[in-house]
Amino acid sequence: MSDDPYKVLGVAKKASQDEIKKAYRKLAKKLHPDLHPGDADKKAEFQAVSAAYEILGNAEKRSRFDTGEIDAKGHERPERDFYHQYAGQQRARRYDPGAGTGGAEDFSDLFSDLFGQRARGGQGGFRQEFHARGSDAHYHLDVDFLDAAKGAGRRVTMPDGNRMEVTIPAGIRDGQTLRLRGKGGPGFGDGPPGDALVTVTILPHPLFTRAGDNVEIELPITFDEAVLGTKVDVPTISGTVAMTVPKGTSSGDRLRLKGRGLPITKGGKGDQIVRLRIVLPDKIDARMEDLAKEWRKHVKTDPRQKLRRTTT
């Protein structure tokens, strides 16, 4: 393949912008990979043509190329995904001709043609005996963190105006899909209706985050609580729980509330992990300063000892 974009597009050096555009359109119609799925040569050619047009299609870039400021290389478009690369997937079936009224019909047609069933179809013919499951309908649902953690029922209005009851199972994960049997498109003949597939997005919560089957929360405590230990009320997804903070805890220490997390599919429940954070008051008063000065006089521990040992 030639490197010269003029040659790639098959235009003269003096061609007008309009002529270049016309030449590109002609080639795009001839070579577009979605019109020739699976043809690697045409794809390569199309990419060369696109890259050439990237330069020549823009009057400014073209003059920079003509004066040698930029070369033909380095302006190729990044590898692009073409539609036909997805169209082979099952989920692309929504774009089959007649999809929504059931693409299965055409598929059965192919086989009936192949194996001559139509000829042997008898009196009623093949079509009247045709039964197929209705198509699946895809929906999307945003769910609050707590609803997802504890499970909930939601009434949802579908785009077609139908109302539908959706049960969100406790512990559902972000991106999980719920299948509602029989809530999709109607079936054909005696075929059953399709399913509604509801993809769930879980909205973030200001306090709780999810880590596997555990729920994490950050709990602020005062310095005296950290030194002396205390009993605090901690919110969990299933209500407030009294928790003991032991004497002498540090920021970042993690305490575990067993069985206060999310339900596990195999049975049982995850834990709630409480991350402690020591918070000082906004204003340090004189007495607190005195306390710290007093403390500094007789305490010689160095929390950065390890740090120093590994860096020097």
Partner: protein, 112 residues
């Protein structure tokens, strides 16, 4: 992974929100319904790129676009059915495969 309207318009060069909404209204692109508007996945985005190419690069008129699109959809459907058939054949014993290949070749030579 799914994208909302605005993300799609920024991701796909030379695409206007007006065109995108028109294509959805016409049923040429079928996004999922999110709570806050339509949501597009990779299949939809690739298809949107194709529609843009057809409209912008090949200047297919709005009247002719559905025709071209339905032909492309039919082509892809047929391709998938052939792939399906091929997989079904691959599952057959060698002798059956050989017979089908021989018959196929004969039909190629002489369709009658």
């Amino acid at each position: 992974m799914s994208y909302d309207e605005r993300t799609v318009v920024t991701r796909v060069e030379r695409l206007t929100l007006r065109d995108l909404r028109l294509w959805v209204r016409k049923g040429w692109v079928k996004p999922m319904e999110g709570m806050a508007g339509p949501l597009f996945d990779e299949v939809d985005v690739a298809r949107i790129c194709l529609l843009r190419d057809l409209k912008t690069d090949m200047s297919i008129s709005a009247d002719a676009l559905p025709l071209v699109l339905s032909l492309i959809d039919r082509l892809n459907q047929t391709r998938r059915e052939l792939q399906c058939l091929q997989r079904a054949l691959e599952g057959q014993p060698d002798t059956v495969q050989q017979q089908i290949i021989a018959r196929y070749a004969a039909l190629h030579e002489d369709p009658e």
